[in-house]
Subunit: 268 residues, 4 copies
Amino acid sequence: MASDTLCPPVAAMADVQNRTDNRNIHIDKVGVKDIRYPITVRAKDREDRRTVASVNMYVDLPHHYKGTHMSRFIEVLSAHRDSISPQSIPAILSDMKERLNAASAHLELSFPYFIEKKAPVSGAVSLMEYNCTLCGQQNGGGADLTVSVTVPITTLCPCSKEISRFGAHNQRGLVTVVVRYNKFFWMEDLIRLVETSCSAEVFSLLKRADEKFVTEAAYENPMFVEDVVREVAVKLLADDTYAWFSIAAENFESIHNHSAYAYLEHTR
Amino acid sequence: MASDTLCPPVAAMADVQNRTDNRNIHIDKVGVKDIRYPITVRAKDREDRRTVASVNMYVDLPHHYKGTHMSRFIEVLSAHRDSISPQSIPAILSDMKERLNAASAHLELSFPYFIEKKAPVSGAVSLMEYNCTLCGQQNGGGADLTVSVTVPITTLCPCSKEISRFGAHNQRGLVTVVVRYNKFFWMEDLIRLVETSCSAEVFSLLKRADEKFVTEAAYENPMFVEDVVREVAVKLLADDTYAWFSIAAENFESIHNHSAYAYLEHTR
Amino acid sequence: MASDTLCPPVAAMADVQNRTDNRNIHIDKVGVKDIRYPITVRAKDREDRRTVASVNMYVDLPHHYKGTHMSRFIEVLSAHRDSISPQSIPAILSDMKERLNAASAHLELSFPYFIEKKAPVSGAVSLMEYNCTLCGQQNGGGADLTVSVTVPITTLCPCSKEISRFGAHNQRGLVTVVVRYNKFFWMEDLIRLVETSCSAEVFSLLKRADEKFVTEAAYENPMFVEDVVREVAVKLLADDTYAWFSIAAENFESIHNHSAYAYLEHTR
Amino acid sequence: MASDTLCPPVAAMADVQNRTDNRNIHIDKVGVKDIRYPITVRAKDREDRRTVASVNMYVDLPHHYKGTHMSRFIEVLSAHRDSISPQSIPAILSDMKERLNAASAHLELSFPYFIEKKAPVSGAVSLMEYNCTLCGQQNGGGADLTVSVTVPITTLCPCSKEISRFGAHNQRGLVTVVVRYNKFFWMEDLIRLVETSCSAEVFSLLKRADEKFVTEAAYENPMFVEDVVREVAVKLLADDTYAWFSIAAENFESIHNHSAYAYLEHTR
């Protein structure tokens, strides 16, 4: 790297990307993918969370341009990284459109999000990880925004419980809910909605009295993946915050080497 | 596992899944996810390829049923695993609907597919891996089928070449093409279409004369990700086999720690 | 790729790798990593399995050589891919040493391996996937060979069972056993040894009578990860086939968002 | 989860883990694996970095104990998460041994670490991600500590450059250095040592003048993976901070669908 290259002035360089393309093909999305960046996310408890996001940023490219200017995406990301929330996405999309001189912009931010959780009996405190994704797309008019949370849960099989003389197979599962929304809400509340719609909650730290509690709770609340998506759907339908939603539940079956899966989506 | 459990006759067991659910919520997809299974794929050279697929199989679940019967998916998969091709998907979907007593069926089969390739100068022969996905969905009427191929390529940056006194950054990229089609085609031909639309092809085995060839070929054919998706689009548009397509190109940039990305889709 | 490059004769090209390096630093391993290749593995039932391997191949590089010749690894792999077994590894290592003119060779082949399995009550047949790794290293003398199998299992928590009024949390786990061996053995037998050392076996396909069986079997055989590694160890110690072994058990805990883990190794 | 379970007092519960095991098998490592936790890492610029770690924590288990107490690992992790550095590892290991009543303790903390970096010509500032791992093991005596950094780099192939009329294939690579050390050092300095031992550095943000610079720098500094590990070794050997080291370099070859790899280790 001991290069002694003398760079000519930037102004003298060709701008290859700005050249004309004559294949007459519009590109829907052009940009940077899978960049990891530290961000600060606004939390319900007013203590901002610092975390690390995987980020995709795209704009459209009209048919007469040869290429986009990739470095500008990183400049926009750097400028906004200190205050990320569903509410800040439209401003980032607008900046992308302006800086890239584009008609549409698309943004995806996925990150682990930690929430303090108390064990159900002992009250022992630890942090639980949830994966969240903020996604926005802006064309001419307003932005289309979605928020997604992925929540670990326990499910206990109703069939296994009923047909067996004792016990019932149970396992960790993951529920991913994606919502479009009419008004403000906290990701924390959406996560709680899911955690109260399964056989038992998952924790990072359980003492013995807690383990007894969650074991018995799961046994008393047997649920298929089908039950989980329906239970979450019933609660989302009862809250007019959510204009559209999809719910996916995946069980890492303890008796199989594959997952059980259920999915539904609904437009209010 | 030395269990001496005496199982009651199967007929006596409750069929929990068949029970009525009264939450009035239809589920779009229920089934098995991420099961891995050995399959045999029909190849253009008439020598069938044995490979290993990751499989997702879903049906819908009407609102009045509590659950689906997961084991039947595996039975359908086992019955069909010996001859997989885009042409065999409709029969698998029909079997899924019949066995699961469902109105719709959804199937995804993803697998590595190996094709013998000759190095461009030495003619040295080796096998190249391409990831392929066959996907089908069947509701009341005919099946909606897509075929997807993911093809490794080399891209060389036109901007870097033009502004630099010598050299140009280049890198491995991946192009994923998904198509809906009006008539029969071979995945091998779709893969070749992509491999001839980039700065240079990728090989498993290159002797020195070949390395010289691909290095110079790439330098003479600089292409952005934007150029790659357009070049592939031009060729797909010229062939009326394809009723719809999407093209995604991703560059694992050699000068950055993230990818450059371009995407477009088109309905004929 | 429409390159009209005229390649000079190969003989005229510089062999940069063969040049002298004067930094006086010997390199332990040089080669190709993460290449995927179709292979045929010799199976106990005499029906060879075709599968797809992830392969690493390395040789040492004496301090006075600048580089190795990467293409030769692929040539050796291509020559041997049709008959892979623990017994064939020494011949591949010898070929690597000879073709690369090296004092030592190192090879790792990891692949999914499918075995037909009958459900415990219904006898329904399906295929189970196990990940296997063959590893060999050869210096001056004989080869150091290891075989590794990764086996999915069910574990049911003894603590949860004892302290709870009903039920017990259980989950899928993975046991990885690596062995050095004194004499021939089948991977199938090592896999069975692990499958009979857990709370219950895992299957791809279970009918209801089978689900009752494995649920009750797990409840009657509660085991911690600690119990699993000890149970496997007791059996391996009783068989003088194995000169050295390591055992790792990982539980994807149904009540936690992380794994429980136990590991031991033993030289006879 | 609307469980009305009345938990008996904790004191009344059986402590299954504390029971005697009579299989006479000592377990080397027992604990929690793949837990993700937010941590704060001490940085050279005195501004602590908040990031998210993947954590493994194990102790040994003497042959006469049946199991370990998994929840205590999380309690230790929670207590220490606010100030992580190579210097803090021994205290965490001691806490693990004490809380778990164990003779040995083992800890692995892996996390993305971001450092501000200036583009070489424009001076444009952005953040680069490096993966770091702190690892410690403590038996009777002192702790065995290692620090590992994984650094993205650019390599340009010397062979391709020499045999081709123009251009040279180049690609992103990853260099992982693991060190045992005699005295204090900053991870930032070890990362810089690697970044100055390759064909060109990798950046998150490059303007056109920078792209010209790194393109030309790479072309002027062709290096095989073999050269990279030797160059890093020469520098580590010149600094008596490092008592032992291993160096692995992996190139995501732009002309192949697999990696080129080199590895060496050295004890001073």
